[in-house]
């Protein structure tokens, strides 16, 4: 029995175990607690890396919980149990998650040094990590619901961490209400699937769906809920509140939960819903929601003067790119167009997801550095920070240029793929995407101009502490790495993910 076959359960279990241990460690001392937290996080990162290695060498496997042989034959009876899939797509998702998590964690160590109640903060951090990992790894509908709720609860509690600020609690409550309503409807649609087919596994449901009225209802509900969780317009309104009011180091991680929901949505669409609904219909919904997200997100960002809120709206508009790209790919799935540009669209969408996770984290963290140094988050009052904070300025430039899609940074490579393929599908879509990209550039230029340029107003005492710089540095290194070698990323990470969903390039 190869221990490597247990890796999916470790990726879920290690953060859980260390989250359970953190309150006990917190009773001893701060250092032990921090050590436990970091150990859990880095072990998870190690296991994600090992799983990526295993997946890329052996081609992936299905882990069956509670079976005598965890990777035994996939009979119907073994699929009655809960299964995790370790394939290219899981690897793509967990890699995105763990990079952001490590960045946010190192950042928290420096940023939140003085705050009270940090034991709970680290516990909730690890719980959110476990929840997102479980969400993207699982291949069982009810299990998806459970991890969905874990993610919602833990991230809501994190948003409300600054309970001395009324707005934080308000944002958390709104996020909580909307995700609980969504979760309950998700439960109802899981019940519909169960009542119709008597099974809960993705594979078994995907085998038997045939597009009846009940399938239709359940598919519609699940899609809308996951799109809501991914903060797609017009259900995006919780996202700016939550992102803006969350504690600054954790914000990219809250954003990652919505990216995780998007991963789950894509997996469900390609795995399960494909047999039930004709692809153009679902693809059209995705494209429509995506275009709306891009456009409304960026328009609302124009009116913002709060730095975190602005980036939050930008992230809403970035979600739109992925939904549109994958929607185009899905809409052309069974046609001849798929070979010519559909595959490229999905490629671009997936590549954009991992890119987006990283550079959005970088942007949020550099905005957090601004707030840490100046205690101001209003763009009307900021100015001249580049004089005192050169490193932060550099990191912000990298993130900003990447999100705006300026060559040679990684955002450009994925956006180029999206533009090309989407143009062939419908030119209007590509034009909208380009316009949105231009406005994004204008927006990040605005932030850069307002916060960093201008005469030195002595707002900050100097550069932020080194642990925060290290965190931003890691993310910047990843962005630059992705920028320099986009082909390797596409061929080594994105294409296996597509193949594991059955839509090879």
């Amino acid at each position: 029995m190869n221990i490597a076959t247990h890796l999916p359960s470790f990726i879920l279990g290690i953060p859980l175990l260390f989250a359970f241990l953190t309150p006990i460690a917190n009773k001893f001392s701060k250092e032990i607690r921090n050590a436990v937290f970091l150990t859990g996080l880095l072990l998870t990162g190690l296991f994600v890396g090992l799983m990526a290695y295993e997946v890329y060498t052996t081609g992936g496997w299905v882990y069956i919980f509670g079976a005598q042989d965890p990777v035994g034959e996939l009979t119907t009876e073994s699929l009655f149990r809960i299964t995790f899939v370790a394939d290219g797509f899981s690897t793509l998702a967990t890699l995105t998650i763990i990079i952001t998590a490590i960045g946010a964690a190192f950042y928290s160590l420096g940023y939140m040094k003085e705050s009270p109640g940090m034991g709970k903060y680290y516990t909730l951090f690890l719980l959110t990590l476990a929840g997102v990992n479980g969400m993207v790894l699982t291949s069982d509908l009810f299990n998806l619901f459970v991890w969905f709720e874990v993610t919602s609860i833990a991230s809501c509690a994190l948003v409300a961490y600054h309970n001395e600020r009324g707005k934080s609690v308000e944002a958390a409550l709104k996020y909580m209400i909307i995700s609980v309503v969504g979760g309950l409807l998700l439960l109802v649609s899981i019940g519909l699937f169960y009542g119709e087919y008597g099974v809960l596994n993705y594979a078994l449901i995907g085998d038997s769906v045939h597009g009846s009225f009940i399938d239709l209802l359940a598919i519609g509900i699940i899609m809308v809920i996951l799109a809501m969780k991914a903060s797609s317009v017009p259900m995006h309104m919780w996202a700016p509140d939550a992102y803006a009011e969350a504690p600054e180091p954790i914000t990219p991680f809250i954003a990652i939960t919505s990216l995780g929901a998007l991963f789950v949505l894509f997996r469900l669409i390609f795995f399960v819903f494909r047999g039930a609904v004709e692809p153009p219909a679902l693809g059209t919904i995705l494209i429509f929601l995506g275009v709306l997200s891009m456009f409304v997100g960026v328009s609302m960002a124009l009116k913002q003067s709060d730095i975190k809120r602005l980036i939050a709206y930008l992230s809403v508009s970035q979600i739109g790119y992925m939904m549109m790209a994958v929607g185009v790919g899905f809409a052309t799935l069974d046609t001849a167009d798929y070979g010519s540009f559909g595959a490229m669209a999905i490629e671009g969408g997936f590549f954009h997801m991992i890119n987006d996770g990283v550079y959005k984290a970088l942007l949020f963290l550099s905005a957090a550095a601004v707030i840490y140094a100046t205690k101001i988050r209003d763009l009307n009052k900021l100015g001249g920070l580049a004089h005192n904070m050169p490193y932060t300025t550099f990191f912000f430039i990298i993130g900003a240029l990447s999100i705006a899609g300026i060559p040679p940074l990684s955002g450009f490579s994925s956006k180029l793929l999206i533009y090309e393929s989407v143009y062939l599908y419908h030119p209007i879509l590509a034009i909208i995407a380009l316009v949105v990209s231009i406005i994004t550039l204008a927006l990040v230029a605005k932030v850069f101009f307002n916060a960093f340029l201008g005469p030195d107003q002595k707002m900050s005492k100097g550069e932020v502490p080194s642990s925060m710089l290290i965190a931003m540095g890691i993310l910047t290194a990843v962005v630059i790495l992705f920028s320099l070698f986009p082909h390797y990323v596409v061929s080594e990470i994105v294409v296996p993910a597509m193949e594991s969903l059955g839509v090879g390039a």
């Binding site: 247990h6 359960s9 241990l21 006990i24 009773k27 919980f65 509670g66 079976a67 005598q68 965890p70």
Partner: protein, 155 residues
């Protein structure tokens, strides 16, 4: 000033606490034989906490104990699930069932009166989940009661 209820209610709830706890533990321990289990029994035991809070308006500072108990219960639950991997099977595999150790008895197929000494890891998991649920629900009640002014912390 503690906000107590009348002496009748206090006496009755003091007397009722022990049977409630025992009944909850009975539900936990017999979870694999009769309706009940870790969650239900834990909730029943936690309602004993609720009873104490409501009748006396005060409770001793059990917060740290509950917190430790909760973490310990969850950790043991995880380790019991992990036992499957240690024994060479998948996670959550019931590796103790029918092996003759603690809770390792065998049961005859079909309708039977039910023997407590069966189930493998299932009764053990019931116990640890029961611990977790007792502590978690008591902590929730504790915090909310303290914040709503219906309870004070006793020295």
């Amino acid at each position: 000033m503690k906000w107590k209820m009348s002496v009748i209610v206090r006496t009755v709830s003091d007397v009722m606490v022990v049977p409630i706890i025992v009944f909850g533990i009975y539900l936990i321990l017999h979870g694999h034989l009769t309706p009940g289990g870790g969650f239900q029994g834990g909730a029943v035991v936690a309602s004993a906490t609720a009873l104490l809070i409501v009748s006396n308006g005060a409770l001793k500072d059990y917060k740290g104990d509950f917190s430790t108990m909760e973490s310990a219960g969850l950790t043991f639950f995880f380790l019991l699930a992990f036992l499957g991997i240690v024994m060479g099977f998948a996670m959550f595999y019931n590796s103790l069932a029918g092996t003759g150790g603690i809770f390792g008895g065998t049961v005859m197929s079909g309708i039977n009166p039910g023997y407590i000494n069966t189930g493998g890891t299932v009764p053990l998991m019931n116990i640890v989940v029961g611990m977790e649920v007792i502590a978690a629900l008591s902590l929730i009640l504790w915090m909310m009661a303290k914040n709503s002014g219906m309870m004070e912390v006793e020295k």
